[in-house]
């Protein structure tokens, strides 16, 4: 759960730069949800007010939702909001928690991110090559663009994870002095 006390992190210029970039991207991308409200209302109005359906507007909805969700991953990583089970971890020393964090990022998170990132490149390239578009005649073009959200957002997430990794390593090495 997100109750794990946010430990004070050492300042590292590179990490500060990464984190503030991700937070700033978040402050822009977070508006997609407000846009999504507007688009849904527009759709409802058009459908029930004027009896017309627009596949493009419908598809725009999941495009916006997907952008919000995928870019949010790095934001939640930077704000340390991802769900943790900390019943036992709460009792560990600060150094032990940092060591487990380093272990987790290296053994679990980064390999997972690499697998998804690597395979998503082909996934996007295929879509680009065939100039894939919506199956619906009136749907959105440029399917590769929304697919490209996967590698881009995972790269940001990896940057956020590396930033955390560096901070934990720095904190441990400073503590050991």
């Amino acid at each position: 759960m997100e109750t794990l006390a946010k430990r004070s992190q050492p300042r590292v210029p590179l990490c500060d730069a990464i984190d503030s970039l991700i937070l700033r991207i978040g402050q822009v991308v977070m508006w997609v949800n407000l846009l999504l409200v507007a688009i849904i209302i527009l759709q409802v109005t058009l459908r029930y007010g004027f009896g017309s359906g627009h596949p493009m507007i419908e598809e725009l909805q999941w495009h916006l939702y997907a952008v919000g969700v995928m870019f949010g991953l790095s934001y939640a990583q930077t704000t340390d909001s991802h769900v943790r089970v900390d019943v036992l971890a709460m009792r560990l020393s600060e150094n032990a928690v940092r060591r487990w964090e380093i272990f987790g990022i290296l053994v679990f998170l980064l390999p997972f991110l690499w697998v998804v990132f690597y395979h998503s490149l082909d996934f996007v390239a295929d879509s680009w090559r065939t100039n894939e578009r919506s199956d619906a005649p009136l749907g959105l073009p440029w399917r590769w663009a929304i697919k490209a959200v996967i590698p881009v957002s995972f790269a940001l997430l990896a940057a956020a994870a590396v930033s955390r990794l560096i901070r934990d390593v720095v904190a441990l090495s400073r503590g050991a002095r």
Partner: protein
């Protein structure tokens, strides 16, 4: 035992062990998936297993992630989260608390009943246990303690009412369950109405009864105003806006006017209008709500992504068949197996929030339940009535699990916000009656599946 079966078990054990390191659940899931894909690849090469796992197969995770992005049903999620956060910001809860307290002030236990009703009305709020328990706790515990309520009754009420949120529609848990099991969101929402009302009713009855027989633990407020028509009008004025918003959202889904996704967008707009009506809407609030929505949606979906990798590898290792055959070979009969499944869900609820359980366990358990052939009346109009009933049972079992000492989530969240002088023991003692009430509710729903399936069947006629 076959080697791949050992791998399946090892995979679950590895997940469970590393969960306790406090590393984010989503990434443990994803990482363990990748790790065991590698292990499967090597056992294929050297130990003649047939998992078929390799780096290329793992690439399917990307297709599965894209399927999560390209999903109409799940679009409702950020919208309902937005709606819940905006309702919180609109100061609805405070106004309700303030006005209903006066109305019920003349009844013993009235304050606790108020808290339960607010819990039900605000169930639309994020639907995340932590958020609703914290909100109710902050709002009502100081008032109840000040009025001289027994601490355990006060704590139990808050936990019980806070957990109702995951069941009562529009609950985001039901949206996710519908997506995972390919059920209709509308059916689940409607199916949850009676079980939710039964639980809420049991809580209110218990509180009133307890207060009647033990007046010392629920004293009346001092210096209360007599109930005048003014008080009643105040209550109506505070209860009408949120109640009508929720009725509009649910009603338009039930009446088949809008899809759940459209209704969620309408609900988000409605909550924003309510905030404006209460004079609470400004740029700062909008930014805060958007930030919260962005963050909350992301950490829920991170678990989606990790779980999809975990589930893919688990399936390749033959985990689905293993669990199915293990459960169906139990010598218990259909209700016995159902009981075992609910017990497993209950135990998992100690460790995991409903998100992980819904994403990993439910897809594994649902086919087993479907194959058990429960004769649940679908009135000829509902698809998969037995599964809809099963989902409600899981939802109630999960609530119980979140309340059960020593490690229920709700208890810890509440512990974080209790006023000085309330101990963890008060909380533990307070929740026990509510656990019993939930088990009674669970029993009622098990014995009467029509409570779940009747309403959706009527709505679609």
């Amino acid at each position: 035992m076959e080697l791949n079966e050992i791998l399946v078990i090892a995979m679950f054990v590895t997940f469970a062990v590393f969960l306790f390191t406090g590393f984010p659940v989503a990434w443990v899931l994803g990482g363990v998936g990748v790790l065991f894909a590698g292990i499967g690849y090597f056992t294929d090469m050297y130990f003649d297993t047939f998992t078929g796992l390799d780096f290329l197969t793992l690439g399917l995770v990307v297709n599965r992630i894209y399927k999560i992005m390209d999903n109409w049903v799940l679009v409702a999620l950020p919208m309902f989260i937005f709606m819940g956060l905006m309702l919180d910001r609109a100061g609805i809860a405070e106004r309700l608390m303030h006005s209903m307290q006066e109305l019920f002030g003349a009844v013993r236990g009235g304050l606790a009943v108020t808290v339960t009703l607010i819990g039900i009305i605000l169930a639309a709020s994020t639907g995340i246990i932590g958020a609703s328990v914290v909100l109710l706790g902050v709002l009502s515990l100081p008032a109840m303690v000040k009025q001289g309520y027994s601490k355990s009754l006060a704590c139990g009420t808050v936990c019980g009412a806070g957990c109702l949120g995951i069941l009562i529609p529009p609950s985001i848990m039901l949206v996710i369950m519908a997506d995972q099991l390919a059920l209709s969101v509308g059916d689940l929402f409607m199916g949850a109405v009676f079980p939710g009302m039964i639980l809420g009713g049991l809580y209110v009855a218990y509180i009133l009864g307890f207060a009647y027989f033990s007046p010392g633990s629920a004293p009346l407020a001092e210096g209360r105003r007599p109930i005048s028509s003014k008080v009643i009008i105040e209550v109506l004025k505070s209860i009408l806006p949120p109640a009508s918003l929720i009725l509009v959202v649910l009603g338009s889904i039930f009446a088949g006017i809008t899809t759940p996704t459209e209704a969620s967008g309408v609900g988000a707009l409605g909550a924003t209008l309510l905030a404006a009506l209460n004079g609470k809407l400004n740029l700062t609030v909008i930014k805060e709500v958007l930030k919260g929505t962005y963050n909350t949606t992301a950490y829920i979906f991170a678990i989606f992504l990790g779980a999809t990798c975990f589930a893919l590898v688990l399936r390749e290792l033959g985990g689905d068949e293993l669990i199915e055959s293990a459960l169906t070979s139990l010598p218990f009969g259909q209700y016995g197996i159902l009981f075992v499944i609910l017990a497993v869900v209950f135990l998992l609820g100690f460790l995991l929030d409903w998100i992980e359980i819904t994403l990993i366990m439910l897809p594994l358990l649902a086919p087993v339940v479907a194959a058990l052939g429960f004769d649940v009346e679908g009135y000829g109009v509902i698809d998969e009535p037995a599964l809809i009933w099963f989902v409600m049972l899981v939802a109630v079992a999960l609530q119980t699990s979140f309340l059960t000492p020593p490690v229920g989530f709700a208890l810890f969240y509440l512990k974080g916000v209790v006023p000085a002088g309330v101990s963890l023991m008060d909380i533990y003692k307070g929740v026990i009656p509510f656990i019993i009430l939930q088990l009674i509710g669970l029993g009622i729903v098990i014995a009467n599946p029509e409570l779940v399936t009747w309403l959706p069947s009527v709505a679609y006629k």
